[in-house]
Every structure is written in structure tokens, then in C-alpha cells.
Symmetry: C2
Subunit: 303 residues, 2 copies
């Protein structure tokens, strides 16, 4: 990471700022899942169990930080931040199902279908996916921006992106793969929602096309870096910190970056991507310092 000039950051200031945002996100997610009449209590419990489980809130933070970087108050982006986390939580619940990745540990606790049952887990995922769009459509103003946010999120979560990436990921676990396929899977399965988080934040700040392009580039590099560190954590991480069963990729012969590139080269690639992310913001007329700091956090994350 020596090829990028880092201004003298106050890392602690960023960390404190992220923590403040995280608390607001959690409070909002809580408030938005106190359903009125009509939602059965077991379903409600399952939704809240998965959505409110301790998490990094990485994607919603990206939404808030990008709105803020563009000079607008970040709390206007809270509904979009919540919607992105709902999509993320739904995709984890469904990915963990026995018919999919068959995982029994997530965010340090039993997966949704383990804690409840398969039917409830499927429905909790469906409910969160739907609630994401209700949140955008209802609480983003003006409606022009609400519609644009629905479009951005639906594209990123749809059959050509998130769902398509997951479908290919399952298939790839039993097939021969290439580094190209692996990249394509992760750009869709993980990258698209991360990119969308940035675009949502920028859109809500009514950023220019140039700024949106820069945010997208940042998100694209960051998303891939995030996934490679995920692969590395699966190999070398601490199960207690990561909160899910590790060393599974290897056992399942999953396509991973360390498998193709080795651990050292994978680490190098993370460094390059983090620099790329930072550079994508460098020339923009925005205050991207927290976003840059977050990218460096991703490069060194332990969970």
C-alpha cells in the first residue's frame, strides 16, 4: 500500500464516527421490525434474530458515509442503509439453508433455520427482502429518489447480480473453475450490493455523474478486497471473532482466491485493491476521508 499517499488520518475519529452510525443503524433496524398486527410472533422473532444479530453493518455504513462524503447529512440515508442491511440479512439466511450452503453458525450464533426451522427461515428471508423495498418506497423522499433507490437495489439484488452470483457459486462448488469465474461470482454475489450501497448514498446526496462514477469505482475495488479478505479469514481467521464455521471452503473445494493465487499473492491483491479504492476518491470534489479509512480497515480486518 506504499503507492498511495495517505493523509495523516485520525483513525480514532473515524472509528468513533462509525460506532455512532452503527448505533443509529441498529436502533433503526430495531424500530422497523416492531411489526404491527399481522406478523406472526415466530416469524417476527426470526426476522429480528437474524437482522439484529451483532454485525459489522459494513454495507449500511457505506450508504451513510457516501451521503456524508457528498456533503449531505447522513441521517437522510438511514432508510436506504436499513434496506441494504435487510437485503444482506435475507441473503445470509437463504444462503445458509440446508439446500444451499448448509451452515449452522452465523454471526456467532446458530443460523436462522437451526434456531427456528427451515420454513420459518425461508419466510424470514422473503419478509426481509420485501421489507427492504417497502422501506425505500415509503421513507425516502422525494418519491423520485425513492424510485431510483428501488431500481438500484433491485438490480443489485436480482437474478443477474446477487442471486445469479449465488447460483453460480453453488454450481462452482462442484465444478472446475477459473480465476475469471471466481471474480465474476464475487462481483455479483458480494460486489454488486457493496457497489449499490455507494450508489444509494451518492444518489441520496444528489451527487453528480462524475462523483457517482468515482463512488462506484471505489465500491468495485472495495467489494473485491472484502471478498478476498473473507477467503483469507476462512483459511486463517479465528472462528470466535469471525462468528461462522471456518475452513469450510477448502473442505467443500470452493473456488477461493487463495486457492488460485496462494495466500501471499491474495494478500498483495487486497493491498492493491484498497489503494485503488482510495485513489478512486482522491480527485473527487468530496470529503472521502472516512471512506478511505474504512477501506484500510477492510484491508486489515480480523472479522
Amino acid at each position: 500500500m506504499s503507492n498511495v499517499r495517505i493523509p495523516s488520518y485520525d483513525w480514532q475519529e473515524t472509528a468513533a464516527h462509525l460506532e455512532e452510525m452503527r448505533q443509529r443503524i441498529d436502533a433503526e433496524l430495531d424500530r422497523r421490525t416492531n411489526f404491527p398486527e399481522g406478523c406472526p410472533s415466530r416469524l417476527r422473532e426470526a426476522i429480528r434474530y437474524s437482522l439484529l444479530a451483532p454485525g459489522k453493518r459494513f454495507r449500511p455504513l457505506l450508504v451513510l458515509l457516501s451521503t456524508e462524503a457528498c456533503g449531505k447529512e447522513w441521517d437522510r440515508a438511514l432508510p436506504a442503509a436499513c434496506a441494504v442491511e435487510m437485503i444482506h440479512a435475507y441473503s445470509l439466511i437463504h444462503d445458509d439453508l440446508p439446500a444451499m450452503d448448509n451452515d449452522d453458525l452465523r454471526r456467532g450464533q446458530p443460523t436462522c433455520h437451526r434456531k427456528f426451522d427451515e420454513a420459518t427461515a425461508i419466510l424470514a428471508g422473503d419478509a426481509l427482502l420485501t421489507l427492504a423495498f417497502e422501506t425505500l418506497a415509503k421513507d425516502i423522499h422525494p418519491p423520485r429518489l425513492a424510485a431510483e433507490c428501488c431500481r438500484l437495489l433491485a438490480e443489485a439484488a436480482g437474478p443477474c447480480q446477487l442471486v445469479g452470483g449465488q447460483a453460480d457459486d453453488i454450481q462452482a462448488a462442484t465444478a472446475e473453475g477459473s480465476l475469471e469465474l471466481l471474480e465474476s461470482i464475487h462481483r455479483r454475489k458480494t460486489g454488486a450490493l457493496i457497489e449499490a450501497s455507494l450508489m444509494l448514498g451518492g444518489t441520496l446526496a444528489e451527487a453528480t455523474e462524475e462523483v457517482l462514477r468515482g463512488l462506484r469505482e471505489y465500491g468495485r475495488a472495495l467489494g473485491l478486497a472484502f471478498q478476498i479478505t473473507d477467503d483469507l479469514l476462512d483459511l486463517e481467521g479465528d472462528e470466535k471473532l469471525v462468528g461462522k464455521r471456518l475452513k469450510k471452503d477448502d473442505a467443500q473445494k470452493k473456488l477461493t482466491f487463495p486457492r488460485f493465487l496462494g495466500v501471499e499473492k491474495s494478500r498483495e491483491m487486497v493491498g492493491q485493491l484498497v489503494s485503488q479504492a482510495a485513489e478512486a476518491l482522491a480527485e473527487l470534489p468530496i470529503d472521502g476521508r472516512h471512506l478511505v479509512a474504512l477501506a484500510f480497515f477492510v484491508g486489515t480486518r480480523k472479522h
Copy 2:
């Protein structure tokens, strides 16, 4: 049904009109699932297999008919009609899963997880649910109406309505129930999406509050009538016509209307609800004749 005055309908005209609309709906659904790059072929196939299977297209017809009844061209409502059918198709795919109702026949062909596999079926449902909102957000203009349609559809498909109704339905199959619970389940599981179809059509025609209220009332009565005829068909229908395994409700001790009311009383209730639906439109300043005819078709349906 003697207590409602029916003008001399040209039933054949309505039938021909519905057929014309049905063909446009099918062509649109086909066009909208020719995905660009990024959607794996097996997923694409599963989505199209379930969505394009021969169906009555009851809900999308309600969208188009209500826009038309309010004096606007019905083709402006095609994106909303498609979105509603996507939600319906997704809910069938997920409801049929082994962890849910465990059905192997739907619309006269093997259910999605039978034809493909469970993981693909779960993902195809997720994709259709997401695509519904993409369709609304992208193709309804102006954006103000797109946002309103997203809100209407998300509420109807969410944890307090469609998903909540399905969750209670699964629970109720193993519990004691009441007629009240049964009605509440069906208002959410089936009724909400039918009501939303009417509201979407009316909203796209920019109907007045009074008209929207009338359409909702029509939808509420029709939705319940539709569900009771569903229960009756499960008991007495022809499996080849209905296209799904019948006489399952009884075997699974499901809550049904005939179980509480008996067959005769259930049939009477259908008649009353169809009349109620027609009456809800009678005094409105709209041309509801096709909607009224459709309600009578529901009252006598064989599939």
C-alpha cells in the same frame, strides 16, 4: 346472487377481452425474463419455467381491468401486472418447497424444486420477488407512481400480509383453528395481493380516493370468494383442470371453509361475496363491467 342487478352482459366480449390481455401479459413476462449477461442459464430456466407456466393470470388481469375501468389505457399498467404475477409465482415456488407445503404438482407440471432442485427453486423465487420491484421501479412513469406502486406491492407481499399469512397457514395446519383465524390467514395470504392488484390498477389510472376505496372493497370480497372456491376445488375439483394435487387439505387437516361451514354454506358464501364485489363498484363513476363479469367467472370457476 339474485340480490344484485346484473346488466345484460356480453360475456363473450369479456372473455375475448380477457384473452387478449392474457396474451399481452404472457408476451411481457416472456420479454422481461430474457435476462442479459449475469443470470446463470439454469436459474433463468427455472424462473421462466415457473413464471410462464400456463396460468389464469388472475391478478395481472385485475391490474389491467381496474386501470381500464377508470378510463385509462390498460397497457400503461402492464409493468405492474407483470410485477404482481412475479410475486404470485415466487410465492407459489416457495410455498411448494419440501420445508413448506411439500407439493410436487403445480399448474399441471412438476413444481420448480421437483423439476430443478431445491437450491435453484429458492433462488428462482428470490429472483422473481426482486424482479417485481425492479420492474415497477424501472418501467412505471412518472417516478412518483413507481414509488407508490412499490409501496403498495411491498406492503401486500410483506411480513404482515402475504408472508405472515403463509407463516400462520403452516402453523395452523398443526394447530386448532377457528373460522376467524382462517379468514385472517386468507385475507393476508391470498387477499392482500388481490386487493393490491386493484389498488395498483386504480393508482396508475390516478383514480380518486372514492374509486380506490370501491376497488379495494371489490378486491376484498373477490379475494375471499377466490379462496373459498379454491378450498371447494380442492374437495370437488378435477385434478387435470386444476393442475395441482387435490384433496390434500383434508389429509393435512388444513383449515378450510368447507371444514367449518360445510360445502353448501361455503357455496352460498361465494355467491354473497361475488354480489358484494359487484355492488362495491355499482355506484362508482367508472366502467366496471369487465370487473363485474370477472367476479361472476370466479364464482363459477372450475380451475
